[in-house]
């Protein structure tokens, strides 16, 4: 198994690879700021590291030097009563390009099934999605909505959220409108219309849920 990157290439600005950049406490604080989703007050750092506040202050001063703008790709900021790491603004354009393509996550099967139900039956309420798949589909619905592939389209008579696909969905699937969705595969004969699809899906879903 590989454990980490191999050491390779020529040193550039780095003079002594073996030497720590900052003290151990400062390194721990760097790690804490990295994993925390929110800015961390120094008092909370002191508690997590089980040291006195003054020691934290000294270590933070050390870190501030190491993170002086221009030295690294990240900067150390004081916001909302705490410390946090953020990307240096110079990287913003590249970050935007990196994140503009949903290349990273291929759809999971749960997401693909959920998305296909929304795409073919829209608008469709969340409980119906669960009935068809035979399992609760909450996390798949949530992640599809977060990624902007589906969006809320109101509420059903019973208060359930109704979903439809978004314009982004058509774009990332290269569809020129919803009429361009391919016929459902692996099923012969192909159901005639949407109502028939819906009925068959629900009856298959019931059987799945029973097992």
């Amino acid at each position: 198994m590989t454990t980490g990157p191999e050491r390779q290439g020529e040193p550039a600005g780095v003079t002594d690879p073996a030497q720590p950049e900052v003290g151990a406490l400062a390194r721990t604080i760097e790690a804490l700021l990295f994993v925390s989703p929110h800015p961390v007050p120094e008092m909370a750092l002191a508690e997590a590291c089980e040291v006195e506040l003054e020691q934290i202050e000294d270590a933070v001063a050390e870190l501030e030097q190491a993170f002086e703008p221009g030295r690294r790709g990240l900067v150390l900021r004081r916001v909302a009563g705490g410390l946090t790491l953020a990307t240096d603004p110079s990287a913003e354009a590249a970050a935007r390009r990196l994140l503009s393509k949903p290349r990273t996550p291929p759809l999971t099967q749960a997401q693909a099934e959920t998305l296909s139900i929304v795409a073919y039956l829209q608008p469709v309420a969340r409980p119906e999605i669960a009935r068809i798949r035979g399992v609760s589909s909450e996390s798949a619905v949530t992640s599809l909505a977060e990624r902007g592939l589906i969006e809320e389209a109101g509420r059903s008579r019973f208060g359930a959220t109704i979903y439809r696909t978004s314009p982004l969905f058509e774009k990332v699937f290269g569809l020129d409108g919803l009429d361009a969705l391919p016929d459902p595969s692996r099923f012969d004969p192909t159901p005639e219309d949407e109502r028939e699809i819906r009925e068959r899906l629900l009856s298959a879903g019931e059987q799945r849920a029973d097992q």
Binding site: V35, P102, L181, L201
Partner: protein, 251 residues
């Protein structure tokens, strides 16, 4: 006189992770000789343990029992007088070969599982960032988005969902080949008659049901409720009720 039931195995059946784990452990313990009744009993008790733990997969367990039953049959043939000289010539049945292959296959994943577990431990100290994306990066702009998914993926997913699952009818199997059910069928047969012929009683049943019934019989034997006679390999089996002192009769 030592009872054959006094196994001396010191087996805690709860510690085994599955029937192949159990079988491998027993087989590789040098001090144990695998008399067929002992092995059958252990396997039967283990199936009960699995059922109690809710880990019994009936289809898989039945397959396993059929393999072990084939092994026991082969062993009993080997033990018959007159066969022993020809030991070298006796071809192990295909079922036994399959049992061995399955044990070895299981063992590979058991050992790989141990490696994975250790590796998992060694990696748990690394923590990754889970903070959500900064709001300005969260949504892909529709204008700049490109096609990255194949629409056929949706058609395939919907096709999967349209297909009703075939009913493997496990509920039906559970009802008819439950180990517990076979136990109670045997008990009620024994309560009606002190002895009966196995084939007369169960000859009509399918192979899996018969195998599970044999294991239930082993369990009754272990509990001192029944014994059986079989004078020749593959010959008729006579099941007899036992009332008290099973040691006296069994020895």
């Amino acid at each position: 006189m030592a009872s054959r039931l006094d196994l001396d195995l010191d087996l805690d059946l709860d510690v085994f992770i599955g029937p192949f784990d159990l079988l491998l452990s027993i087989v590789l313990r040098e001090e144990i000789s695998l008399l067929e009744v002992e092995l059958g009993e252990i396997v039967a008790s283990y199936v009960t343990v699995l059922e109690e733990k809710g880990e019994l997969d009936l289809e898989v367990a039945t397959e396993f029992l059929v393999l072990v039953a084939a092994l026991l049959e082969l062993k009993s043939r080997l033990m018959l007088p007159g066969v022993e000289e020809e030991f070298e010539e006796v071809e192990p049945a295909a079922a036994v070969e399959e049992l061995i292959a399955r044990m070895l296959e299981y063992r590979r994943y058991r050992d790989l599982g141990r490696v994975m577990r250790d590796h998992f431990e060694s990696q748990r100290g690394y923590m990754y960032r889970s903070a959500p994306l900064p709001p300005e990066f969260r949504r892909i702009e529709v204008e700049t988005a490109e096609q990255v998914y194949d629409p056929d993926q949706l058609a395939a997913a919907l096709g999967d969902l349209l297909e009703p699952p075939p009913r493997p009818d496990l509920s039906h199997m559970r009802a008819t080949v439950s180990f517990r059910r076979r136990l109670s069928v045997l008990r009620s047969a024994l309560s009606r008659r002190a002895r009966f012929d196995f084939d007369d009683e169960f000859g009509e049943e399918d192979r899996m049901t018969q195998a599970v019934t044999i294991f239930a019989l082993l369990d009754l034997y272990a509990k001192g409720e029944a014994v059986w006679d079989q004078t020749e390999a593959c010959g008729p089996i006579t099941v007899r009720r036992m009332t008290n002192s099973r040691m006296a009769e069994a020895s």
